[in-house]
């Protein structure tokens, strides 16, 4: 807190500042462990994680809340000696290969079997676990039951039905579907692949180097040109406003919006996974979990690991509170998820079932930024510009193949 004191004295506005309070309440001197979170949108999360940290008695822990471009900020800080000791993120193969992360297998102990396997898999690189999952997030398709009934449309179970439903539900000021202000290219690229039984990366190989991929992405283009998508809303896909304001009959968004949607619409909504393309494909929901990780540059790795163990493995009450008291997440530990009454009915129960049956990793560790950029660029050009899908997908697959060759030889 050196900076704060300095600012105080220099500003000569101590009275003004005193009113603002402090977010740690303790004078730090470099002895405390630094723990980083990105800025969660739900009110109360920041106070909760600070409360957890404060109740840890073995070491002092200072929580830092990071708004803005968290990924870039974290990446920059991990390169220097001034980075956090403990932070939340999803492990990436590049960070592991560069030796930036500490393996945490020994932190789990007996509790390992209590964590959902598919979630642990997304935190595993080259056979070692690098993050303790904190909370599971997932995305799915929300639809207005009353709008569907009025139009005589059934909830879609294939991609073609989805496009047809979106068209038929578009009338007056209401659009069929909202899937992001970029026209769905950003969030639906993955689900489109999965709908055709493909994936980003599969067993160290490109998972979408297949003519069917072009067909699946072509469907997103069909959706985009159907004139039934909402585009350019004030808030993007991650927030429920377009859906709750009745601007659309369907919206692709996340589990975290369920409380807000329930409050606005009561029972007048249902949820679906992204449908399958054809008989070979499968419905899917993208799933991801931030995990607590330890910085290999930390000078106090053991204390950091011990704190992570205490916070996310020993204190199951914290995990429960973190997942269920503020926004809406699925606890990664089966024992906690199983007894959460909030998750046993309605949309939340459906979501839990989708995660069990149709989960796909939204951000697998070996899906690097080079591959992601190449793939997203290709999808974006196909969807928004009408570029030929097969050529674009082939180009992206080539980039991904080079990158995977570099990673795995």
């Amino acid at each position: 807190m050196i900076s704060r004191r300095r600012l105080l004295s220099l500003a000569g506005a101590s009275a003004l500042l005193a009113a603002c309070g402090s977010n740690t309440g303790r004078g730090g001197n470099g002895q405390a462990l630094k723990q980083w979170y990105h800025a969660y949108g739900e009110p109360g999360v920041q106070q909760a994680v600070e409360r957890y940290a404060k109740s840890y008695t073995k070491t002092q822990v200072d929580v830092q809340w990071n708004p803005g471009d968290y990924d870039s900020k974290l990446a920059t800080s991990l390169l220097s000696d001034g980075g956090p000791d403990v932070f939340e993120s999803t492990p990436q193969i590049s960070s592991v290969r560069a030796g930036q992360l500490v393996p945490l297998d020994d932190v789990f102990g007996d509790a390992k079997s209590d964590f959902s396997e598919s979630i642990l898999a997304t935190h595993t690189v080259d056979g070692k676990i690098y993050g303790v999952p904190q909370a599971v997030d997932m995305q799915m398709l929300f639809y207005r039951k009353s709008f569907f009934d009025q139009a005589g449309v059934r909830p879609p179970s294939t991609v073609d039905e989805l496009i047809d439903a979106s068209r038929r539900l578009t009338k007056g000021g209401v659009k069929g579907l909202f899937a992001g202000n970029d026209g769905g290219g950003g969030v639906l690229g993955g689900p489109a692949l999965w709908s055709a039984g493909l994936d980003y990366v599969r067993d160290h190989q490109v998972g979408f180097d297949d003519p069917v991929a072009a067909q699946a992405i072509g469907k997103l283009r069909e959706l985009y040109t159907s004139d039934s998508l909402l585009l350019g809303a004030v808030k993007d896909w991650a927030e429920p406003d377009a859906f709750t304001q009745g601007l659309v009959a369907m919206q692709w968004t996340g589990l975290w919006t369920v409380p807000a949607i329930q409050k606005a619409l009561g029972d007048d909504f249902g949820v679906l996974p992204f449908p399958k393309l054809t008989g070979n494909g499968k419905p899917s929901v993208p799933v991801g979990a931030f995990g607590a990780m330890v910085n290999a540059k930390s000078k106090r790795i053991n204390e950091a690991k011990e704190f992570v163990r205490w916070l996310w493995i020993e204190r199951t009450d914290h995990q429960e509170d973190f997942n269920l008291s503020y926004g809406f997440h699925i606890p990664p530990r089966k024992s906690i998820a199983g007894k959460a009454s909030k998750l046993t009915s309605g949309a939340a129960a459906d979501a839990v079932k989708f995660v069990q049956d149709n989960a796909k990793a939204s951000n697998p560790p070996d899906w690097t930024s080079v591959m992601r950029t190449a793939f997203n660029d290709a999808v974006s050009r196909v969807v928004r510009d009408g570029a030929p899908a097969d050529a674009e997908i082939k180009g992206a697959a080539q980039k991904a193949r080079d990158e995977l060759k570099r990673l795995y030889g």
Binding site: R4, C20, Q46, P67, S77, S80
Partner: protein, 270 residues
């Protein structure tokens, strides 16, 4: 002809003021009102409570971040005027064998985008232990090649007679600079000061990464919390924007006469 001129200027002025109008309108309305299908030109009822809600929002420390921005901008402004002013004078007036080499090194920095050297700069600053520290926010921004270059151009045109008079009175370079050159260049210092202040107040990427501790956020970083948080409150966002630009608008309107006069004296003409 005169009418046409005023007509053109008035139309341009209206266009230029629209964004300011929107910031105020959106910041003082209710969310229902600004997302309504029919346009309302002004909130039917101004919600002054929006201010209270903004300033009491625990996630976004508006007051503290404004104070931080002010401290950083003031220190950076005076620091730049001091360091770049001295350097510009040295480059313009003190004959020295390697002066040209230094000058080219200064000009070269203008071409190189700061975003490029961003990560190494961060590593250097963090090695010094200046993360989340006032020093990290202020000091790396003091060495502006642009400001130094402008100072040099200005001092090249400074009337030599004044300096020679000082020399006859027995003053060296140092004495001449402080007793004669600076007092006779107040307008120019004020003009570059305003530009430095605005640049500092509006910088975003560097404070985002260096001001990690919430207590050291600047107002631009606080604004970005609104933009990126999962549940942005549009009304508060616009109100925060309005609050963040108010100090600068005041400074501008108060000092703009100064600014034009100052820029008129710049060396941009050579």
């Amino acid at each position: 002809m005169r009418v046409a001129r005023y007509l053109a200027l008035s139309m341009a002025a209206v266009l230029f003021l629209i964004p300011f109008y929107l910031v105020l309108r959106n910041g003082l309305a209710t969310e229902q009102e600004i997302t309504a299908p029919t346009w309302t030109f002004w909130p039917s009822e101004i919600r002054w409570e929006n201010f209270a809600e903004l300033f009491s929002n625990p996630a976004v420390p508006m007051v503290r971040s404004m104070v931080n921005s002010l401290v950083v901008a003031v220190l950076q402004t005076f620091g730049q005027l001091l360091l770049c002013g001295l350097a510009g004078y040295g480059l313009a007036r003190i004959p020295y064998r390697y002066a040209n080499v230094v000058l080219y090194l200064v000009i070269a920095t203008l071409m190189i985008p700061a975003a490029v050297t961003f990560v190494p700069t961060f590593v250097v600053v963090s090695t010094l232990g200046w993360v989340s520290d006032l020093r990290g926010l202020v000091i790396p921004g003091l060495f502006s090649g642009f400001t130094t270059f402008l100072f040099r151009q200005y001092f090249l045109n400074f009337p030599r007679e004044l300096e020679e008079a000082a020399r006859i009175d027995g003053l060296g370079h140092w004495g001449t600079y402080w007793r004669v050159v600076v007092p006779n260049s107040k307008g120019f210092f004020a003009a570059l000061g305003v530009i430095a202040f605005v640049t500092s107040w509006n910088q975003f990427l560097w404070p985002l990464v260096i001001a990690q501790d919430q207590d050291s956020w600047t107002v631009q970083v606080a604004l970005s919390t609104f933009l990126t948080s999962q549940s942005i409150d549009v009304v508060q966002l616009f109100l925060a924007a309005a609050v963040s630009i108010t100090p600068l608008v005041v400074v501008f309107v108060a000092l703009q006469r100064f600014l034009v006069r100052g820029v008129t004296e710049t060396g941009i003409k050579d």
